[in-house]
Amino acid sequence: MSVFVNKHSKVIFQGFTGEHATFHARDAISIGTQVVGGVTPGKGGTTHLGLPVFDTVAEAVAATGADVSAVFVPPPFSADALMEAIDAGIKVAVTIADGIPIHDMVQVQRYRVGKDAIIIGPNTPGIITPGECKVGIMPSHIYRRGNIGIVSRSGTLNYEATEQMTALGLGITTSVGIGGDPVNGTDFVTVLRAFEADPETEVVVMIGEIGGPQEVAAARWAKDHMTKPLIGFVAGVAAPAGRRMGHAGAIIASEADTASAKMDAMEALGHYVARNPAHIGQTVLEAMRKQGIAIR
């Protein structure tokens, strides 16, 4: 098992014929992802990578039965593309773009209310279930299949943690990047809930950063609702207050926003915490040994 995407997921690419979409669609197919087509308005009826191209998501869904969309649309058009995906019945829409206006995401999140769809991102590397399905831009070769669920705000820090785990022989069920924006489609709690429900996931790693209340809210939720151990790390101990550190959402606005405060809170709630970004893999390994969880 896995969360959100697996070998049965039928994936389309919105903005299919663009450079990055083409590169990552190829990579996704090479690891076994069922890519069934794509959407580029105005290019409907043609083919790309040997797959059908449609003008609208609705047509693509009707013709292919797609239930997952990789949204590779530039930031000014991303909100519209996400709403189109949800309207067409897509169940998981992953939006890679960094730079979507926040008010647009406020609209998207409002549009999503009452609809049975999940948005992952924006500003995310996406989601991968190794050997089954990749919807995103991550280097798929660093991911190895195992029993750890990983969720992060940062993309490259997710890669960093994954490589450390892979080097220690640890593998993952699914990796979910929720993205670095202040208003995002899926929060930590939603992903933790999915990992808790997934029988194959035995340990969960949560990687956060400065700014916002998400990490602590998730740690609190995990204490009350999770049976599986949670290992946390929060980036930005060395970050100055009041400065936006690259990600739109990474800004220390109050004491509770600091990395140290978040990690202290996680520890106080009984979770494992890696205090050093270079020791995330090691901390996961130690936690698994302590909990008697098999390494696989």
Binding site: I137, P139, S154, E160, P213, A238, P240, N276
Partner: protein, 390 residues
């Protein structure tokens, strides 16, 4: 992006929000002319810098003659205002706002933010204006009123009445409060603001002529939406920003100066922050945060090296790349190009991982240049710290 108080007030006025009569001045002669045209016998001279805490720092003067207006403007213009937000070097005052002074009966607080928990615009109000809202939140949390706005519906009158009642705006002030709140909400939404803060919102005028008036306003706008906000973009004052950060953003780089000696070039904000953390944990001090972003071309990498090296404190550069959408071979080519064109003398510690890592490592190795390579984050940070510690 931030704007000046006078710009915020002009913007609010265009949405029908009452602000004092006033105008900006760039020199003291202009300042007294403005005051003369405004008329009256009491004026406020306000230093226009983006930092908060101006009042306490001497950046706001109430005066009662045209001569005093000129004197106050003279003293402010060209001097540096040091507030708790500017740092010890302060901010250079290049513009002053001259306004007719109001007789203030009471001061309230109004703010709009995008609340990260509800993911919606949220109105924050308090009867305690004129002081920092964070202070009120600490000492009198019960005096902070919040109201969440449904983006599909917009801010409704009843919500404004609820908030107005809670902060003590009654009688004739109630309908004014509704109008003001709705106007600020529209102003925020239509201009892609992340935050609008009115502090204080004052009650002015005589007993039979009570009015609401915005005495200070602060806005912060979404950089990602500036492409569709021409008016706001034109308000940008580059003098208020760090010239190196402005230059970096022009090259698609995200740079923030820090006070250490280990330069950093990293891809991705999270990994960049983690790299600073790793350096700090090894006992070193990072000189900067720099995210080269995705799709970093050799030119972008060269620009990154140049900007980092403009800081004279930099004794070595840690390059940490975990390529997803990036490519290690491009980064390697960029580093070689940078060494060549910039004649880099400080050691470069390079850690490459991810997409096309083998090609990248090969390019560095075959270049004949001396790069200190590191296999992982820990050893990269350790090597960098060892170099600066000699």
């Amino acid at each position: 992006m931030n704007i000046h108080e006078y710009q915020a007030k002009e913007l609010l006025q265009s949405f029908g929000v009452p602000v004092p009569s006033g105008s900006v001045a760039y020199n003291s002669t202009q300042a007294s002319q403005v005051a003369e045209e405004l008329g009256g016998n009491r004026w406020v001279v306000k230093a226009q810098v983006h930092a908060g805490g101006r009042g306490k720092a001497g950046g706001v003067k109430v005066v009662s003659s045209l001569d005093e207006v000129k004197k106050a403007a003279d003293a402010m213009l060209g001097s540096r205002l040091i507030t708790h937000q500017t740092g010890p070097e302060g901010s250079l005052i290049q513009r002053v706002l001259i306004e007719q002074a109001s007789t203030i009966r009471d001061e309230l607080y109004l703010g709009f933010i995008i609340d990260r928990a509800s993911q919606r615009i949220t109105l924050i109000a308090s009867s305690e204006g004129g002081m920092e809202i964070e202070e009120v939140a600490k000492t009198h949390p019960e005096k902070i009123i919040t109201e969440i706005v449904d983006p599909a519906i917009g801010l409704r009158d009843f919500q404004c009445r609820k908030v107005a009642t809670a902060i003590g705006l009654k009688g004739k002030l109630m309908p004014q409060a509704v109008r003001v709140m709705k106007a600020i909400y529209r102003c925020m939404r239509d201009n892609d603001a992340l935050q609008a803060e009115i502090n204080p919102l004052a009650i002015v005028g005589g007993d039979d002529d009570l009015r609401l008036m915005v005495l200070d306003a602060k806005f912060n706008f979404d950089d990602n939406a500036l492409y569709r906000q021409k008016t706001i973009t034109e308000m940008r004052d580059l003098q208020e920003e760090d010239p190196k950060e402005v230059e970096a953003s022009g090259h698609g780089l995200n740079y923030i100066a820090l006070d250490g000696n280990i330069g950093c070039i990293v891809n991705g904000a999270g990994l960049a922050m983690a790299s600073l953390d790793a350096i700090t944990l090894h006992g070193g001090k990072p000189a900067n945060f720099l995210d080269v972003g995705g799709g970093a071309s050799p030119e972008k990498v060269t620009n990154a090296c140049r900007i980092v090296l403009e800081d004279p404190n930099v004794q070595c550069i840690l390059v940490n790349i975990f390529a997803g959408i990036n490519r290690c071979d491009w980064i390697a080519k960029g580093l070689i190009q940078a060494c060549d064109s910039l004649k880099i003398k400080v050691p470069l510690i390079v850690r490459l991982a991810g997409t096309n890592v083998e090609e990248g490592r090969k390019i560095l190795k075959e270049s004949g240049l001396t790069f200190i390579t590191a296999e992982n984050l820990d050893s990269a940070a350790e090597k960098a710290v060892a170099i600066v510690k000699g």
